[in-house]
Symmetry: C2
Subunit: 228 residues, 2 copies
Amino acid sequence: MRKAVVLLSGGLDSATVLALAAGQGYACHALSVDYGQRHRVELDAALRVARALGAVEQKTIRIDLTAFGGSALTDGNIAVPTRGVQKDAIPVTYVPARNTIMLSLGLAWAEVLGARDLFFGANAVDYSGYPDCRPEYMRAFEHMANLATKAAVEGHKLNLHTPIIAMSKAEIIEQGVKLGVDYGLTVSCYQADAQGRACGVCDSCRLRRAGFETAGVADPTRYYPTPE
Amino acid sequence: MRKAVVLLSGGLDSATVLALAAGQGYACHALSVDYGQRHRVELDAALRVARALGAVEQKTIRIDLTAFGGSALTDGNIAVPTRGVQKDAIPVTYVPARNTIMLSLGLAWAEVLGARDLFFGANAVDYSGYPDCRPEYMRAFEHMANLATKAAVEGHKLNLHTPIIAMSKAEIIEQGVKLGVDYGLTVSCYQADAQGRACGVCDSCRLRRAGFETAGVADPTRYYPTPE
């Protein structure tokens, strides 16, 4: 069985990507990153999802990005926007260089494992305008990665897979439902509470909720009462 | 004053780069990474060097790469080679994707600070054959970085500076001596002891010692007795 590293946040997108990779016959090594995110409870979800979808292994790596801050997800003084998704600007939930850091960690683990495949659940359609979710960024990362490692120098090129990058949220959900993903296990909310319940009004919640509606799939998300 | 992030390991190369950046008038924010390296004592040196060379700030970020292993520097079961530098192979002191991870952290901090300059002490001449020290890798990282961030999307491109990449170790030392670097503060040895004393026989020690000899500069390194 070919090995793959799958970045797994515990949210809807990466759970679907794990199911896709497993469905393609990869032995999946799931990598989660505790970067001090506000919604750290997603990491509990990552564990549940990895188990449910048959990952052969799951690791959580800690790196404290609150030391830098600069995002509503890593600085408690910056509020998470809840008034609706703005399509024309990069929101304050963007975490500087986060995807580059996470992909770099995936690259490291892939090299140690001897895996040539790295899966990442970036999405450039129903997303929040993050620069490090765009296809041109992914191509540049893959190119850089294939100059960075001993494995690449020795001819073992890394393939960066972003299978849902061009899908709408509804299409992602339809795909995951076919593969048997239990989205009730996942946490997408940027300000989920300690029980993993969602606010319903942050960008991540709005995109997810609309995805279930469009897909005609019952939304299994547990929401907490909001003062909205 | 323009801000710059300078990756600072505590070794000879990065100390020289910090001196060069400071000499060019940058307000230097020094970033060190505690990745579980065997020679973690280099981080004490990083603090001393940052202070001595007038960095405006120094941060140490922790990320445990021993969770992956795969290198003599991050796996206690893999011995550090001491029989001489082999120029034809990448040695076991190569740490998978380490430079990519460290540069990604530098990219993150640069974006939060509003710095457009990132300095890195990679060297492709008197080095140990690491793929992520080559100029083509550096260009690929810079290209990727300028697709990754909100800052780049808004037109604030990042410049990755590798001012010593084409210098010999002796040239680096000559440069540093001119700039007043006290190399007695630095630690290069892969298996330095708790006092920061060097083994004298690992690749890093050999390259450093030969550099001082060629430069005709007295070697300030403190060595511990080895069984060699």
